[in-house]
Structures are given as structure tokens and as C-alpha cells.
């Protein structure tokens, strides 16, 4: 068992996702995700935080291969789902051939259909993620249909009802349409749909961001309960650091398509290293007047640069008070600072 636990459920290496964007007559790549690596253990929650446009949603969708990755390697339960074939050495540098071109190995693209049963997704918008023309039963039953998970109509209905019960809805709700529910209930329907195939990994893409605080707590608790009961691993993507720290075992911080820092949740909240994480933490509005009065905010100057015109070297250097010449020259590597706390910064 202990042997088993050490094996990551999901392993992402050097993942890149570029989107071609037309500018005038030529197309330039928008580097939504640029060389990201991480692992998720079975039953673990990895939080992924970052501001809008940092590529966190793209990471989630690329892992599920809803987008075709530009480069990198994705492995799930020992099975390589995608490998563009680039080779890397021990230190994570790309291996080049004599002519300086990247050396290529075998390209792997696996048919995702069997893996759709194991990897699922819960979406941000509880309004647009449910088909308005379908009843709850049809929505939750759709994955059962696709993967032929029942023998007859009766079994299908029973399965749907038990799924609804798992997420705190009842049989009376099954015949209703999505628009009759509140945001929190819709999100429960979305979760029931994801659970229908009995997955071992769920990407939660801003799954509670659109909900009211009191409802958000209900849904967060439900995610935790499901994890305890079913041992599901989550990639929990959100922009709200307080929510992420609450549910996650480990947290990764992204900025402009790059991974800036990754560490255990407690460690990251209490001993952040990267200047970006520091400012992100200090910018959180604290719901406590006393602390808020005495806290000192590190207010970041300026805006996030456009991902089309990425700064050279470290992407954060344009807003960083520690920035030096070296930051402009070379991209800082993600280095281990002990205890699995990794950070990409030259100066700290």
C-alpha cells in the first residue's frame, strides 16, 4: 500500500500550450502555458492559483486533452496519454541534437475515451455548464449513456438517483430543468455528472467562484466529503487563495503561464518565498477588521503584461521590486528549497 501511495496518479512534464493568434497578417503564438511540470498523488488535492489569464484554466483543460497540447508529456496511472516526444535531461534541460535542434523521441497520442471515465471536470459557470434543454436526469445520465454503464432503463434511473443523493439532491429534482435551480444546486448537478463515471481524478475549474459565500462553503465541504469517501484526487483551480488554501494539500502558484512556486498548503501560506506569492497573499482582503487595519499591503504596481508580449527572463520582473539584471536575462528555474517547497526566483 505504501509503495502504491508513492506513485503519482497524474504526472505532467514540460507541458506547453500555445494558441496561434492572428496579428495583422501573421500568426504569433500566445503562450498560455509555458513549460509546466507537476504531479498529483492519489487522493490528493493540488490547488492551482493565479490571476486571470495566467493559464490555470488552460492547464486543467489540456490535462484532460480538451485542447491538444503543443508539447510535453502527460501520464495518468502509468499510462502515457500524450507525449510530444521532446527529450529532457536530469536537470530538466531539453536535449538538443548536433545541429542544435531539439532531439525527438516517439510521439504518443492515446485515445482518450477510456480515460474520460477516470478523469472528469467540474466547470466554473453553473449556468452555462448545464444544457438548458435537458432535465437533471438527462444531464446526469449522459455520461452513463456514453460509457454504457447500465443494463436497462431501470438501472440507469437508479444510478442517477443515487448520484443525486450523493450530492444532496433528491428524486423530485430529477425531472426538473437546470434553470429552475440556484447556483449552488446547479453546481451539485455538475458534480453529480462528473461523479457518474466514478472517476479517480477531477479537475475543478473555479468550481466555487460563482457561488455565494454560504453556498460556497456547502460545496467545498462536499468536495472534501467525496474525497474522504471515494478517494478522488483534485486539481482545484481558483483565483481565490483563501478558498484554495482551505481545500488543498499542496498549492501551486502560476503567473503568465509559468509555475512560480509550489509547496504544501501550510508552508506556502506561512512561509511564501516568491515575491509574487507574497504580494498575492498580502492583497487578499481579510474579513477581519482588526487584522485588516494593521496589515501592510504590498500593492503591486501596474498590470499583468500581455501574454503576447512576454517579458524576457522572469515573467514577473516588470512588477517585482527585487528584479535585477539577471531576471531580465534568464528565466529562473523552479528549484527545490527543502521539504518539496519549490520556487522559481533568482533573488529569494
Amino acid at each position: 500500500m505504501s509503495e502504491n501511495e508513492k506513485k503519482p496518479l497524474l504526472k505532467v512534464e514540460h507541458l506547453k500550450q500555445y494558441f496561434p493568434v492572428s496579428q495583422g497578417f501573421h500568426k504569433i503564438p500566445l503562450k498560455a502555458v509555458d513549460d509546466i511540470s507537476f504531479e498529483i498523488m492519489p487522493g490528493e488535492t493540488l490547488g492551482l492559483v493565479g490571476e486571470s489569464g495566467c493559464g490555470k484554466t488552460t492547464v486543467g483543460r489540456t490535462i484532460l486533452r480538451l485542447y491538444e497540447p503543443t508539447a510535453g508529456r502527460i501520464a495518468f496511472e502509468d499510462q502515457v496519454l500524450f507525449d510530444s516526444g521532446e527529450l529532457y535531461d536530469e536537470e530538466g534541460n531539453q536535449i538538443l541534437d548536433e545541429k542544435g535542434r531539439p532531439k525527438k523521441g516517439r510521439r504518443v497520442e492515446v485515445n482518450m475515451l477510456p480515460y474520460r471515465k477516470k478523469m472528469q471536470m467540474v466547470f466554473q459557470d453553473p449556468y452555462s455548464s448545464l444544457d438548458p434543454r435537458m432535465t437533471v436526469e438527462e444531464i446526469v445520465g449522459e455520461p452513463l449513456d456514453t460509457h454504457h454503464l447500465y443494463k436497462n432503463k431501470k438501472e440507469r434511473r437508479e444510478k442517477v438517483l443515487s448520484l443525486l443523493e450523493t450530492v444532496g439532491l433528491n428524486a423530485e429534482h430529477a425531472m426538473r430543468y437546470a434553470h429552475e435551480f440556484s447556483g449552488g444546486q446547479r453546481q451539485r448537478i455538475g458534480i453529480a455528472r462528473a461523479l457518474a463515471v466514478n472517476p479517480s481524478f477531477i479537475v475543478c475549474d473555479e468550481a466555487v467562484s460563482a457561488l455565494d459565500v454560504s453556498i460556497q462553503a456547502q460545496v467545498l465541504n462536499m468536495f472534501e466529503d467525496l474525497q474522504d469517501k471515494l478517494g478522488i484526487a483534485y486539481l482545484f483551480i481558483a483565483h481565490d487563495l483563501l478558498v484554495v488554501q482551505h481545500i488543498s494539500d499542496r498549492i501551486a502558484v502560476m503567473y503568465l503561464g509559468h509555475m512560480m512556486e509550489i509547496a504544501d498548503a501550510d508552508e506556502l501560506m506561512n512561509h511564501p518565498i516568491h515575491p509574487y506569492t507574497l504580494s498575492l497573499l498580502s492583497a487578499i482582503p481579510i474579513p477581519d477588521p482588526e487584522t485588516a487595519r494593521h496589515s501592510h499591503r504590498i500593492i503591486l504596481e501596474g498590470d499583468v503584461p500581455s501574454p503576447l508580449h512576454m517579458p524576457t527572463g522572469c515573467p514577473f520582473r516588470t512588477r517585482c521590486k527585487y528584479a535585477t539584471e539577471k531576471c531580465a536575462m534568464e528565466r529562473p528555474p523552479l528549484t527545490d528549497r527543502g521539504n518539496g517547497h519549490k520556487c522559481a526566483c533568482w533573488n529569494r
Binding site: R61, L64, L66, M112, L113, R116, K117, Q120, M121, F123, Q124, D125, S128, S129, L130, D131, P132, R133, M134, T135, E142, P143, T146, H147, M175, R176, Y177, H179, E180, G190, R193, V197
Partner: protein, 363 residues
């Protein structure tokens, strides 16, 4: 929970503000879950269809139009069974053609008919709108003309629907190069002057088709009519295709499509189960609005003499024939014109009503 509770220091209201005597202990008993549940009742379940129909029923103009249209359709089906005259032949009395029954004013009988009625005491069916210059009952001709015009409208709208939806769905869903090429074809068809093409095509096609359909049921309708259908189908689907494509592009961006993909639902099923039902309301509305425009074009062409073959008639050709007697019998122009107006107006109002009731963007 108790721990967090302790953080909050309790505060009490000052007793001076309130007269406690009006309360008794029972007031402060805990409410049961059931009692609480009663307070929040979920509204009646209503589907998209029910909701839309409820909105439609509140739209008086649209409802009146629907009633008028239904009445009209019933009328054109039933009336030819009751009225003993034929649209194509001169009135006959006792098996003999009645030459005196030409250009009769409304509700008049010809001399021969009067004579016949006197002789036998039998009452003949009145000529509600009189007769035309060839001695045919005008009322029954208007009824047949309405039949023809309405069916032209419906048939061409259905053809436009089928071609447009298939074309638009493929173009919108697959996108990219497929979309680019398909939409340029649409642009080309759009840029042709449609009236000119319709006239040219119907003349050419009529000549080709007439020998082909000889002896079949279609011959009764005439080559002109078939040509008109083909012309409609060839030209008017482009609007529908564009509309459907646009709708699909916006529906494609919804997360539920992405969710279906994440589940592993195959493309065809996504189209059938998610995309088409969501564009259906727009398609139906547009089709409803397509019918009057086809009726208009048909009337226009018939008025130019390119319509149905004689002795069959349509509202447009009736109006055309009536030009000759416009001074002596203006009602012969007014009646078919009025029927066209009523049909077109009713269909437009229904289409608008459907849009207001079912187009989710407006709600």
C-alpha cells in the same frame, strides 16, 4: 462550532425597547425542520416549452393571428367540399354551360339560373363573390388561390429549412477551413440579384420541366410552380444557413459542450443532443417568418405572369387577372390582395410572437 461561537461576544438588546409581556414561552420554541421546509417551496416545474407557451399565450396579437390562420386553413380545406362550383370550369346549369353567368356581381344569379330555380323551386348555391370574365365562380377561385399560395409558402420554407440547417450546422460545428469555404459559397449566392435570377431560372426551368412532368400529378401544378420551388430552395437557404451557423458558433462556446466532450460524448451525439435542440427555437421562428416572404415572392411572380399554369390559380395571378376589370369590379383585385395581406401579417405576427416567447436571449 462551539469554538468559533465563543469568539463572538454576545450582546443583548436593552429591555427598555421592548414590551416582553406580549411574548410567551411558546413563541421561542424551536421550529421543526418540517415547518421550515414549508416556508421554502420550489415553484412549479416548468420546462422551456411550457414557459414559452405561457408567454405566447399572453401575446394577444400572436394568439389572434394563430386563430385567424387556423380558421383560414380549415376554410380552404372545407369550402371546396361544400361549394358545388369548380375553380376551372364555367358554371353549368342542368348540365349545360351557362354563357350568361359572365362577370356577375356578388350574390347575383345569372338569368339561366334564375329561370332554373323558378322552374324547379330548387335553391342554387349563391355566387358569393360573383363570377369572372370566363363565367367561373370567383369565390371558389379565391379559395383555391389561397390553397396554392399557402402551400407554396410552406413547401419552400420547409425546403429552405432542411438545406439551411444541414449546411449551417456542418459549417458552424466544424469551423476552420470547412467553415471558411462553405461561407464563401454562401457569400457568392448572397451577392446574386435574386429577383433577376428567379425570373430567369423560372423561365428556363419551366421550359425544361414541363415535358418531364407530363401526365403526372405534378402537371396539374405546372412547370412554373415546380420551377418556383427549385428557385426558392436554391436561393433562400443562405439566410437560414448563416443564421444557424452563427447560433452554433455561440452555443459551441458554452461550457456544457465542453462538459460533453470531457465526458467523451462523440461529435455526432453532441450535435444531435446538445446543439440542434438549442438552435431549434431560432430555426422554427425563422421558418415561420420565411413562409410569408415566399408567399410574397410567389404572388409577385404570378402577378408578372410567371406563376402557376392555367386554369390553376394563385392569389397573385387572381390579382393580375383582376387588373382588366379594375374599374367595373374592383373587389376582384381587393379580395385576393386582402387575403395575401391577412396571411402575411398573421404569419409575421406569429413569428414575432414565437421569437418573443422562445428566444432565450430576449428573456
Amino acid at each position: 462550532m462551539t469554538e468559533t461561537e465563543n469568539i463572538y461576544k454576545k450582546r443583548q438588546i436593552l429591555s427598555a425597547q421592548i414590551d416582553l409581556s406580549k411574548f410567551n414561552k411558546k413563541n421561542f420554541d424551536k421550529a421543526t425542520d418540517e415547518e421550515k421546509k414549508q416556508q421554502e417551496v420550489m415553484g412549479e416545474s416548468s420546462s422551456f416549452l411550457k414557459d414559452g407557451l405561457r408567454r405566447l399565450r399572453k401575446n394577444h396579437m400572436a394568439m389572434a393571428s394563430i386563430i385567424i390562420l387556423i380558421a383560414l386553413i380549415v376554410a380552404i380545406i372545407v369550402i371546396p367540399m361544400i361549394v358545388p362550383y369548380s375553380y376551372s370550369d364555367m358554371i353549368t346549369v342542368n348540365g349545360h354551360r351557362d354563357g350568361t353567368a359572365v362577370n356577375l356581381p356578388p350574390m347575383y344569379y345569372s338569368q339561366r339560373e334564375l329561370q332554373y330555380m323558378q322552374e324547379t323551386g330548387e335553391k342554387l348555391f349563391p355566387h358569393i363573390l360573383g363570377t369572372d370574365s370566363l363565367g367561373r365562380d370567383y369565390f371558389i377561385r379565391v379559395v383555391y388561390g389561397t390553397r396554392v399560395s399557402l402551400s407554396v409558402g410552406v413547401v419552400s420554407a420547409v425546403m429552405v429549412l432542411i438545406i439551411g440547417v444541414i449546411y449551417g450546422t456542418i459549417s458552424g460545428y466544424f469551423g476552420g477551413k470547412v467553415d471558411l469555404i462553405m461561407m464563401r459559397i454562401v457569400d457568392i449566392i448572397y451577392s446574386l440579384p435574386d429577383m433577376l435570377i428567379i425570373i430567369l431560372l423560372s423561365v428556363v426551368l419551366n421550359a425544361r420541366l414541363t415535358p418531364l412532368i407530363k401526365g403526372t400529378v405534378l402537371a396539374k401544378l405546372g412547370g412554373n410552380m415546380l420551377a418556383m420551388f427549385i428557385v426558392f430552395a436554391l436561393l433562400y437557404w443562405v439566410g437560414m444557413a448563416r443564421l444557424v451557423r452563427g447560433q452554433i458558433l455561440s452555443i459551441k462556446n458554452n461550457e456544457y459542450i465542453l462538459a460533453a466532450k470531457a465526458i467523451g460524448t462523440p461529435n455526432g451525439q453532441i450535435m444531435r443532443k446538445h446543439i440542434v435542440p438549442n438552435v431549434l427555437s431560432i430555426i422554427i421562428i425563422t421558418t415561420a417568418l420565411q413562409v410569408p416572404s415566399a408567399i410574397f415572392t410567389e404572388s409577385y411572380l404570378s402577378f408578372l405572369g410567371l406563376g402557376v399554369n392555367l386554369p390553376m390559380t394563385s392569389l397573385g395571378s387572381l390579382a393580375n387577372d383582376a387588373r382588366a376589370t379594375i374599374t367595373s369590379a374592383p373587389y376582384r383585385l381587393l379580395v385576393p390582395a386582402l387575403v395575401i395581406v391577412v396571411i402575411v401579417l398573421a404569419l409575421n405576427l406569429i413569428g414575432d410572437g414565437l421569437r418573443d416567447a422562445f428566444d432565450s436571449k430576449l428573456n
